[in-house]
């Protein structure tokens, strides 16, 4: 394990959340180019993991789902269409994996909490705590994690990840109006939670 850590080449710094990926990278990825895959991975690894971490509220589960998301991209890279919006594709796969694992969560340890049948733990998963910038960041993370899932996923995709509400409507398979409504209610719930804290 120690050897693997020391041999692992240092990761390049992740670009800013909304940094666009060069169009040529998608074309090369569709041909199965490993360097293009690495470029996509560097651009989106933190976003995909962060999204899953906030969705699952469980670091090890988020890691597993992120791994599966990247494997799905590798397996399907050659079948992507030239007009694929890669960020939306990745979030859709990640979210679908989360939804399907929830069906089996009841049989696993911690399943009730993942299914939201128990109140969420007050503790923020440690990777989120480390990444949060300042006191306000921590409070917003806490408020976000306390949101019901159908509001949380919309707030995450639109307000955190910067997808358009049309993209989110397509990704979730709901109407545009439903996305707007969930977003407004989610925002209001976060504000309420922040105000109750103070």
């Amino acid at each position: 394990l120690i050897l693997a850590v020391t041999r692992a080449k240092p990761l390049p710094p992740a670009p800013t959340p909304r940094a666009a990926l060069p169009a040529a990278a998608l074309a090369r990825l569709r041909k199965g180019d490993a360097a293009a895959f690495e470029q996509v991975y560097d651009a989106y690894r933190a976003r995909v993991y962060g999204f899953l971490l906030r969705l699952t509220r469980d670091a090890s589960l988020a890691q597993d789902l992120a791994q599966e998301t990247w494997l799905r991209l590798a397996a399907n890279a050659r079948t992507l269409t030239p007009d694929t919006e890669l960020h939306a594709w990745l979030f859709k796969v990640a979210r679908n994996l989360f939804v399907s694992q929830r069906r089996w969560a009841i049989f696993r340890e911690n399943g009730l909490r993942i299914l939201h049948l128990l109140p969420p733990s007050a503790a923020i998963p440690s990777p989120l705590e480390e990444a949060a910038a300042g006191e306000l960041g921590l409070r917003v993370e806490r408020a976000l994690l306390g949101l019901p899932l159908h509001y949380r996923e919309v707030v995450l995709l639109v307000a955190v990840e910067g997808l358009s509400s049309a993209e989110v409507a397509q990704l979730l398979g709901v109407s545009h109006a439903a996305v707007r409504q969930r977003l407004a209610r989610g925002r209001a719930a976060v504000v309420r939670s922040l105000e109750e804290e103070t």
């Binding site: 990761l11 490993a34 590798a74 990444a131 960041g137 955190v160």
Partner: protein
């Protein structure tokens, strides 16, 4: 908290880096899967050689039969 302040705070949350070891393992496994994934071929591309050989064979048999009966 105003809506603008909240949106700013939410957009600042951003991504979360996985640990270097996890990232290294994820990337290695995904690149291995990428190398294993076969190129995507359409049904026509898949059966085209068979189709061409079958048509050529039938054409050859037809030509030979014509020659045979002409003799």
């Amino acid at each position: 908290v105003t809506r603008e302040e909240l949106d700013r705070a939410l957009s600042r949350l951003g991504g979360v880096e996985p640990s270097p070891l996890v990232a290294h393992q994820q990337l290695a496994a995904a690149k291995q899967r990428l190398a294993q994934a076969r190129p995507h071929v359409t049904q026509l591309e898949r059966y085209e050689p068979w189709l061409l050989w079958s048509l050529s064979g039938m054409h050859l048999i037809w030509l030979l039969s014509r020659v045979f009966f002409a003799l």
